[in-house]
Symmetry: C2
Subunit: 322 residues, 2 copies
Amino acid sequence: MTRRLTVAAAQLGPIQKAEGRDVSVGRMVRLMEAAHRRGVEVVVFPELALTTFFPRWYEADRAAADHWFESALPSNETAPLFEAARKYGIAFHLGYAERTPEGRRFNTAVFVHPSGEIVLKYRKVHLPGHAEYDPVRKVQHLEKRLFEVGDLGFPVMRAPVGGAGPVNLGMLICNDRRWPEAWRVLGLQSVEVVMLGYNTPSLNQDNRGFEAHHLRVLHSHLSIQAGCYQNATFAVATAKAGVEDGHELFGHSIIVNPQGEIMAQATSWGDELITADLDLDMCRLGRETIFNFAVHRRVEAYGRITAQTGAEVPAEWQPTGD
Amino acid sequence: MTRRLTVAAAQLGPIQKAEGRDVSVGRMVRLMEAAHRRGVEVVVFPELALTTFFPRWYEADRAAADHWFESALPSNETAPLFEAARKYGIAFHLGYAERTPEGRRFNTAVFVHPSGEIVLKYRKVHLPGHAEYDPVRKVQHLEKRLFEVGDLGFPVMRAPVGGAGPVNLGMLICNDRRWPEAWRVLGLQSVEVVMLGYNTPSLNQDNRGFEAHHLRVLHSHLSIQAGCYQNATFAVATAKAGVEDGHELFGHSIIVNPQGEIMAQATSWGDELITADLDLDMCRLGRETIFNFAVHRRVEAYGRITAQTGAEVPAEWQPTGD
């Protein structure tokens, strides 16, 4: 029996700073309606999908950013997403800023069953940017200030989804996709579909380097395609796109198969639904042959990956003069 | 002061089973002459560069394959390579089958200073294929039978090369390039140039899957480009190419920069020299910003990478019915 799953990346155009959750949730519900018409069983929304990408603004008082965070899910404002999921029988992935009852803040994503139950939660591990105001940057990127590092690891859950029966589901958020360690930890749990949302500027605003504008999409796609190929998994990678409060986000949402091929790609900078029909048995080829981890991995040679955080300087060669 | 290094990938066309080392070494010396004319300071030859890719033939008696191995380097047959290196002041990377005085066998590469001294030796860690005769395969791939797993880890050495001053050099061999762990262990030692030789068939002869012929080059390039980008390193990746004893090897040698861009690519299936002038300071952008490992890596979330070899089955979700 073929295990097939129809998925969508529901790219969002920009959400301006002044726009409330009523605007973003309304747009997302319309994307779920479109997904329903196209036979979709899982919709993946981007990172921090409910608001503008607020880590670009510095607040001396961290609590001044709290209005960007959700303290409950669903809330009155997000309830329409859950209602649409139930109405259409569609599961969804949502990125949002989480504030726990204890006041902890995370960059979080959840995977929600059509029933409204939360199947899986992930908190972003690889927070990019910086923690203090940086006068060199044209645009701040304060994720390290506004969020704690995720404390849930990289979980994978086997859950019934659509008509495919149980599917091994994992999640990454934005900058995580550039880190092969994150993909590998998911691969070591037999992940079959990685759901991944991002808000990525077209310009690296670090202003210290010379990273070219035209390479930003290459880097995103390269990381996702390699992650899929090397872990024999599908990925649904969904962007927030377009000019948001004056800052361009590059979009280019993609759905990728376990051979690293792009199956679908968004080509607008607005709200756009791209879909693909996944044959989940395609995950088997890689994991039973070239990436059969049990047969081919050599963990005794990987020690540095977990034993050290930063890069070391190598030994210097001394000619013997022989 | 800019640190520049001119490198070449010296792709080799096929070496037939009946051809001796005099033939392959003669061709390699001619490539070194060509490299000299083009101002090259480092030449990278492929994996097992001295002979045909012999792991495609099964021998019940392993010792019957010993004539493919080198028990000394240089030997009378390989001395012309060392002489050319000295004459032209060119360093070179050579892949070969190594038989130690104790009779151990490895798939090995060395980096040789123009003086003839061996600066760095690496023994292939990720041996693909299988150890016993496989009746399902159209072509055997007996690396797991003929070689031991490399016992030198993934070493990086800082050595003076050409006019660039000390350069951080590392090596991978063929299938290693598909494993992000291998790249990362090099990256954690601040590698700047990865030298990498391969013999990769255009068809995966496993005959169990459905991996498409047309994806083989994509997979090779994807792995190399992602490895370079994610570790802020250059790579010189050199193929043996063309129809060798009836079996097609895909070639497509490339030189890649730390942004993951292909700087040069071989387009023939024969002996071909491709060159690039590397600005080694390009390695700094990645490692000082987005891939500043000390600032951004989260080893506490990577435990599975070294704690388990094979993939596990994830937990199954149980709806609470709430």
